[in-house]
């Protein structure tokens, strides 16, 4: 029973992280109908930046890992990493997708795959071919501990929640209640018409990529700190997981992406715990295929039935 509680805790924590990445997919898909293959590799770069940043603080500045470092990395590092990845993501859009704006759908997709390969190999160059251990900055003190010791909720998990939840809510508010968010929604609905209505479509798309990149960077920081690892193939691994989440929730739908990510996080954690971890990927992809075959609109789809 405690094992189940622990699996659910891990599942929901992972689900929140996956949601940050999945929303990037869903935002870009909503506006360009493009599966941004490079998105998760931007996230991977976020883990790499965090790795180098914490190394710099702990090793070069000589500050021993402590709660001060944890605060420093989490709350000063977060905007820095987010800015970097946002810039990279918007730059990618400018260089690799914008010239293909009016090309057939396959062209930007293949371009995105190319960029994904470039980023992945940049990751390989700067991180090397194996997993790297990130400095242990987040305390693992247990806040809530069940008597048997098999289930707990730690400080590191609290930090995950404290970072991801405000970002998710903030994004909801931004897209739902601001002028720019309205422009994004309008562009997603009909790019040409919103252009005619005076919305700067290119700027709105750039903004979308900035936001998606920033969220991916935040996810990267959180993953690096919470899993205490970085790896050049994290983009591929997490990317498929979060894309599946976005599809599961109904791609193009923000609430759906969050919900899909939480569901998927739970499924993956349960599979890790009660099956074997090596089968989790198969289960996730199996779900992806089944969802696409039987309910291509996802759990929360509103308007995309003809897109699938």
């Amino acid at each position: 029973m405690e094992e189940l509680v622990r699996a659910l805790t891990i599942g929901l924590t992972n689900g929140l992280i996956i949601a940050l990445i999945a929303i990037g997919y869903t935002l870009v898909y909503g506006i360009l109908e493009l599966i941004n293959f490079a998105h998760a590799d931007v996230f991977m770069l976020g883990t790499a930046f965090t790795y180098f940043g914490t190394n710099f603080i702990v090793e070069s500045l000589g500050i021993p890992a402590s709660s001060i470092v944890a605060l420093l990395v989490t709350f000063i590092g977060l905007p820095v990493v987010m800015l970097l990845t946002a810039g990279i993501n918007a730059g990618i859009e400018r260089v690799a997708y914008r010239p293909l704006r009016n090309a057939p759908r396959l062209a930007p997709l293949i371009s995105a795959i190319g960029i994904s390969f470039v980023l992945q190999n940049i990751g390989l160059v700067i991180l090397g071919p194996s997993q790297l251990r990130v400095q242990d900055v987040l305390p693992t003190t247990r806040l809530v501990d069940l008597p048997s010791g098999a289930a707990w909720f730690g400080v590191d998990e609290l930090v995950v929640v404290l970072v991801t939840l405000p970002l998710l809510l903030g994004l909801r508010w931004f897209v739902g209640s601001t002028r720019q968010g309205k422009a994004m929604r309008a562009t997603a609905q009909d790019r040409d018409a919103s252009g005619l209505m005076g919305i700067d479509v290119n700027r709105t798309i750039s903004l979308t990529f900035l936001i998606a990149g920033a969220l991916a960077g935040a996810a990267g920081l959180i993953v690096a700190l919470y899993y205490r690892q970085t790896f050049f193939q994290y983009g591929f691994q997490f990317g498929l997981l979060s894309f599946t989440a976005a599809v599961l929730g109904g791609i193009g739908n923000l609430t759906g992406a969050t919900l899909g990510a939480l569901v998927l996080g739970l499924i993956a954690a349960l599979s890790d715990r009660f099956l074997e971890a090596k089968w989790t990927t198969v289960i996730v992809f199996g779900i992806l295929i089944l969802v696409l075959v039987f309910r291509p609109t996802g759990l929360m789809a509103e308007k995309q039935s003809e897109r699938a």
């Binding site: 690799a96 795959i113 198969v282």
Partner: protein, 464 residues
């Protein structure tokens, strides 16, 4: 008699031009085949005589040809039918594992490779149908993701089934059905050795010819034969009713369906036929390497095949084969050559001097996928039809290509019209000069080119 006057107009396509071209193509193919057959024998002496040229070794050529077969197979799916498949490696793996299961000591089954290859082809085709049947109704990018997922599932399943236990869940008694630690696929250690194909012809090489990596030249001839078979089948498929149906679906699925094409069956055929060729390649690779490992059948292989097709020219058989040889040559010979001969040492020295590890460890050959990624993006933006597109049907799949062609066509039309106008004006001037003003209306219809004629002219300018 008027029709007799019109008949010898030079707009009628010259049948001899077509024949010449065919003969020219056949000559080129024959020369290439002769070079391909002679090259591995003379490769060592070429390398000794001209060491400054990065000659590809026979093993590299074998990889090139294997990927050419894979690319031709994927080209049926991507180029002809216009379906993006990012998990093509799955069928390659299925072909290779079928061979390994049926021709190795793993299960103690030793069927002759010459039979196994057809079973591998059939297995890949069946899995193509199994994957295709439920998923082909999905559109472009969703299909891409599903196939990608399938490719990963196949790789992971082959890896995990090397050590697995199938048991009932605890609440049903927990009885172990298979295992514990059953080994179906060899897992991470793979299946090794696999029986290579043999022909019992005695000679200086022993009492039989063995087509394995111990005998690269014989294996090269074998894979070359497989490539030629694949190529011929692809040409015949392209020109068949089925091929036309694929291209109709690629251009406009709704219109194709309205014309009476069963789109589901046709797409399914593309999927399974495309898959069957990678079964071909898989059966060869397994037997040639005499060992297979699940981890070699990863996503990179699928992407490399896509790169080859994009690079060579999507839908163009010639381009795809050239693309495969070019990509694998760059990947396996050229980058290593350029790295060791030119780039690595100075950059490593620079790295040692400046203390930048990135430069100290620099090795150009490890940047291959980075380079392919850049190439993929640049090709999409600059030249989506590929380096060697099919003439005439220049990348119909890409709206850009078609649009460019249409613009070019209208430019030609415009030029021809202007020319005709100039001719007419000139004629008018001549008429004026010769002072027979009444003749002008009579002259004009003969000199002015009709609308249809202009189009013929434009057609003639294009290589047919």
């Amino acid at each position: 008699m008027t029709s007799a006057v019109r008949a010898p107009r030079p707009t009628i396509p010259n049948p001899f031009a077509g024949m010449d071209r065919r003969r020219r193509d056949l000559t080129i193919v024959a020369i290439l085949l002769v070079v391909a057959i002679v090259y591995p024998v003379g490769y060592r002496s070429l390398e000794a005589a001209l060491p400054f040229i990065p000659w590809p070794g026979t093993a590299v050529l074998i990889t090139c040809a294997t990927f050419a077969i894979l690319a031709l197979g994927l080209n049926i799916v991507m180029g002809f039918a216009g379906l993006l498949d990012l998990g093509y490696v799955a069928f390659y793996a299925i072909g290779a594992y079928t061979t390994a299961f049926l021709a190795s000591s793993h299960f103690g089954i030793h069927i002759s490779w010459w039979i196994v290859i057809w079973i591998a082809v059939a297995a890949a085709a069946v899995f193509g149908i199994l994957l295709g049947a439920p998923t082909l109704k999905l559109r472009g990018d969703y299909l891409a993701i599903v196939t990608l997922g399938f490719g990963e599932i196949v790789r992971i399943v082959f890896r995990n089934l090397g050590d697995f236990t199938l048991a009932l869940p605890a609440f049903l008694g927990g009885a172990i059905l298979v295992g514990p630690n059953a080994n179906l696929t060899g897992g991470n250690t793979g299946i090794n050795p696999i029986d290579p194909p043999t022909i019992p012809i005695p000679g200086p090489w022993g009492n039989q010819i063995v087509f394995s990596n111990q005998n690269a030249i014989a294996s090269w001839y074998l894979v070359l034969a497989l490539l030629v078979i694949t190529y011929v089948v692809c040409v015949r498929l392209r020109d068949s009713k089925l091929g036309r149906a694929w291209m109709a679906i690629r251009e406009d699925e709704t219109a194709a369906a309205a014309m009476g094409i069963n789109t589901v069956t046709t797409k399914l055929l593309a999927f399974s036929l495309g898959a069957s060729f990678s079964g071909f390649a898989g059966a060869f690779t397994g037997a040639y390497q005499t060992a297979i490992f699940a981890e070699t059948f990863n996503f990179n292989v699928s992407i490399l095949v896509v790169v080859i097709i994009i690079l060579g020219g999507i839908g163009s058989l010639r381009g795809v084969v050239i693309g495969a040889f070019a990509a694998q040559y760059v990947n396996q010979t050229l980058l290593a050559f350029l790295g060791t001969r030119i780039f690595n040492q100075p950059l490593n020295d620079l790295g040692d001097a400046t203390g930048i590890d990135l430069l100290s460890d620099f090795n150009l050959a490890t940047y291959n996928y980075l380079i392919f990624g850049v190439v993929l993006a640049i090709m999409m933006i600059r030249r989506p039809e590929g380096l060697f597109p099919d003439e005439g049907a220049k990348a119909e799949m890409h709206g850009i290509g078609v649009a460019a062609e249409v613009t070019a066509g209208s430019a030609e039309l415009l030029a021809a019209a202007e020319e005709a106008e100039a001719v007419a004006l000139e004629a008018a001037a001549i008429e004026e000069a010769t002072e027979i003003p009444d003749a002008l209306p009579d002259v004009l219809p003969d000199v002015l080119v009709e609308r249809g004629d202009v189009i013929d002219l434009a057609d003639e300018e294009k290589p047919s």
